[in-house]
Subunit: 164 residues, 2 copies
Amino acid sequence: MRWEDLPEQQCSMARTSVVLGDRWTLVILSDVFLGVRRFDDFQKRLGISRTTLANRLRLLEEHGVLTQRQYEDRPPRFEYRLTEKGLGLYPAIIALLDWGDEHYSDEAGPPILRRHKTCGHDFHGVMHCSECGEAVNPRDVEARKREPDDRFPEVKRGPLTYAS
Amino acid sequence: MRWEDLPEQQCSMARTSVVLGDRWTLVILSDVFLGVRRFDDFQKRLGISRTTLANRLRLLEEHGVLTQRQYEDRPPRFEYRLTEKGLGLYPAIIALLDWGDEHYSDEAGPPILRRHKTCGHDFHGVMHCSECGEAVNPRDVEARKREPDDRFPEVKRGPLTYAS
DNA sequence: TAAGTTAGTCCAATATCTGGACTGAGTCGA
DNA sequence: TCGACTCAGTCCAGATATTGGACTAACTTA
């Protein structure tokens, strides 16, 4: 199966992966959330090739994650900004950054700190249940299909466990 | 810059992206969280090429996200399981699945539902602040570098905003 | 004994990513 | 008015990664 055929699958991660699933997109997006908006700034900060950057930004625009907006008349210049849909990726970005902070920081700690202005503290994200408000533990979650679907074959599997 | 050089960067997303940033890894992981553990099951469910699957699983093992454990003696057979480090990706997986559910579902709703066994309801994840416990809004977060670092050049940027 | 299961490897064709040069419109300073 | 600079890309050819399909290898089951 080719990557482009993934969205046909009955799986939200497959469809998400078409937009975010490549070497650069998540890094670009985390820069966008830091306030970076211009082509050359992305390019200089990330060291990504200009071709690939142009392709990624176009893809993100096509998928409604970013929009271009003019910030200068002469010469006409555009910058990339998050749409509401793009802003909806914030929890995922936070979760991925936190995971990177936890597992790949050096002795001095995470390279970038995030402060919750509302309470004034540096923080990390904790995933809570939308229904009861409690923090969610992976072992307390049970997944089920909406309905049987032959395109998404069943396999033998047990409950979620992990290697100790 | 090449993908392999990304982890040199002072950026947690760059380092995270080395492990997760490709077309298949997130999809494989979301299957792992559904309980899929065997090579052929991944391959049949995802339609990924066997070569790429083998490479991805090896990468995830090298990075300590999965481990192989023997589940059969004759012939010796191994299955892939999450380590504690891998289990730490659950918030990110939930956030990405929720985003896909929200933006790419058909009329009938998300293809897979997740139930919080603790409270008994189908749910989605809400990202909360580890310090004050409140739900986090992207606009209430302020990022800053731990310290100046020439390898990670500053750019002109304003506060986080988005296109309306 | 033949067919099936499981977990891969190997291969050549195709697709994607790379750095670097280049374009083009306009600004800035002297 | 000239020359250097800014910014957002495009274009190219070489390097790298992904693809589907065939194949291996060890063992089980009918």
